[in-house]
Amino acid sequence: MENSRRDFLRRTCALVAGVSVSPFAVNGTTDAETEQAIKYAIIHDETKCIGCNACVEACRETNHVPEGVTRLSIEKTGPYGEYPNQYYHFTRHSCEHCEDAPCVNVCPTGAAYIDKQTGIVSVHADKCVGCQYCLLACPYEARFINPVTKAADKCDFCQETNLKQGKQPACVEACPTNALVFGNLKDPDSLIVATLKANSTQRNKQDLGTRPKLFRITAKPGEISL
């Protein structure tokens, strides 16, 4: 009895030591990250957005998103001001492609992933079992269960459609007022880098440490809220 107890303690200690060291082995992947050539991001210029929903419709068409769910929506607040001088605010509601994505961290099967080449947060639909842990985790409520594939679904910057054909994402192409700017943050000559340098931008819920890549050029405030 005494012997086996000592034996047990020794083995348990070895196990605990082994497990606690293992994270260091995982850290080796950070080298690959520094070499990444592309990091896609998007800007929504709320001063230009007119709330026409052309982006939503284009996204649905291009990515075959079923009715009743959407990868992208434009949220409207207002009206502000007095009739007839009134205006609304439009905010883009979609995946913000976090650098440190909670959905990817919590996914038990690794179906949610960040593409190493492009930084796009996406889903392997066939690996997803539909536990909805990612829907719970996403601070931006960007995810939904696709009623056709039964897998978690979300904006992937048209990774499988337009981007593959060398085009801009469907929402960006459809926007009549050029309120959306998509591009590579690693390319210093890109329009998105120029736009980010020329404007003050905001990102949602930055205090959560998610480092989202949806930048907002915000419109004038509609009201004073404390």
């Binding site: 009895m1 086996s4 107890r5 034996d7 047990f8 303690l9 083995r11 348990t12 293992s22 994270p23 995982v26 909670p102 990817v104 961290n105 919590v106 996914c107 038990p108 099967t109 690794g110 179906a111 690996k127 997803c128 079992v129 539909g130 536990c131 909805q132 842990y133 829907l135 719970l136 985790a137 996403c138 601070p139 409520e141 269960i145 039964k150 897998a151 819920k205 205090d207 959560l208 440490g209 998610t210």
Partner: protein, 313 residues
């Protein structure tokens, strides 16, 4: 905002039932081990309470997993969760803990019930005797690891929810401890309830032992609930909002004050103190107290799950 339907709600009651059942299983095994080593020794298999715990634990954990699988949008692809692992996912780590826990749970049950199993198998299946002999050789290791993994499983039910930076109430370091404590007490309650139903003696030393452990456990739970909400309120901001939304007026406020604090914690504590002080233990006292404890834990899991999802940061 209605109590069971609101925009930010993703996980519904089946998850709460799963968390409850996993906690019951972990707690039942924990107390079975305690009973065997602290008061029954080799005669453990004769006790109705140990028997009850050893029946409840596997059924609860398997039923919980069943509910979990049915709650997936693709229930037939649940096996992918066993093949693909993600080291950063609490759920994935929980699957590992659950699997290993079940191995040690069945091994420990086999060791504890070695005598009746061998008696039943001896004339026909000689290899079972050999197998159980080998297994019994590792009893100390199996017992130790079972305790570690049952505590891990109990805490995991809390970690599963606390790994959610989006919800300030769930993203709380006290939650795993609270769920561990309430899981253990639900395991004790299910062992007591099952034990007296299996004709265990309500005045037996097992009951006295469990009640002695339960009193500090319930006091601990009350302290953890207090710390949980005090921590939220003192954090301010959305955390404070979340706490007041949960325990303030409304349906869930009633569930908390009347159901959890009243029926689930205070009443069993009073009954335990009464039974310890007067040593009056009857079937109905023991069973009633156990039922109240179980009800309290079910309510606590649902309460935390639903109110936790009400306020986002």
């Amino acid at each position: 905002m209605s109590a069971f339907h609101f925009d930010s709600l993703v996980w519904h009651w089946p998850i709460a039932i799963y968390l409850f059942l996993a906690g019951v299983s972990a707690g039942a095994m924990f107390f079975a081990v305690l009973l065997k080593h602290a008061c029954l020794k080799d005669q453990a298999y004769r006790s109705g309470f140990v028997q009850a715990a050893c029946i409840v634990a596997p059924i609860a954990v398997l039923a919980g997993l069943g509910i979990l699988v049915l709650d997936l949008t693709k229930p037939f692809e649940f096996w992918k969760i066993l093949i693909f692992y993600n080291p950063t996912s609490v759920m994935s780590l929980g699957v590992v803990v659950l699997m290993i826990y079940q191995v040690f749970m069945f091994a420990w049950i086999a060791i504890t019930f070695r005598k009746p199993i061998e008696d039943w198998c001896r004339p026909r299946y000689e290899f079972v005797t050999k197998l159980s002999e080998k297994l019994a050789h590792y009893e100390a290791s199996v017992t130790g690891l079972l305790i570690i993994f049952s505590v891990a499983l109990g805490a995991y039910t809390g970690f599963l929810l606390s790994a959610q930076p989006r919800f300030p109430m769930l993203n709380n370091p006290v939650l795993p401890l609270l769920f561990l404590a309430s899981g253990l007490s639900s395991g004790a309650a299910s062992a007591l309830l099952g034990g007296v139903l299996l004709k265990g003696n309500p005045t037996g030393k097992e009951v006295q032992f469990i009640h002695k452990v339960e009193i500090p456990l319930i006091l601990g739970e009350i302290f953890l609930v207090f710390t949980f909400f005090a921590g939220l309120i003192l954090s301010g901001g959305q955390s404070k909002m979340a706490a007041f939304t949960a325990i303030g007026e409304g349906f869930w406020g009633w569930v908390f004050w009347f159901g959890i604090m009243g029926l689930g914690l205070s009443a069993p504590l009073a009954m335990n103190l009464f039974m310890t002080a007067t040593s009056k233990r009857t079937f109905s006292y023991v069973a009633g107290t156990a039922c109240l404890s179980l009800l309290g834990v079910i309510l606590l899991r649902n309460f935390i799950l639903y109110t936790g999802q009400m306020t986002v940061s």
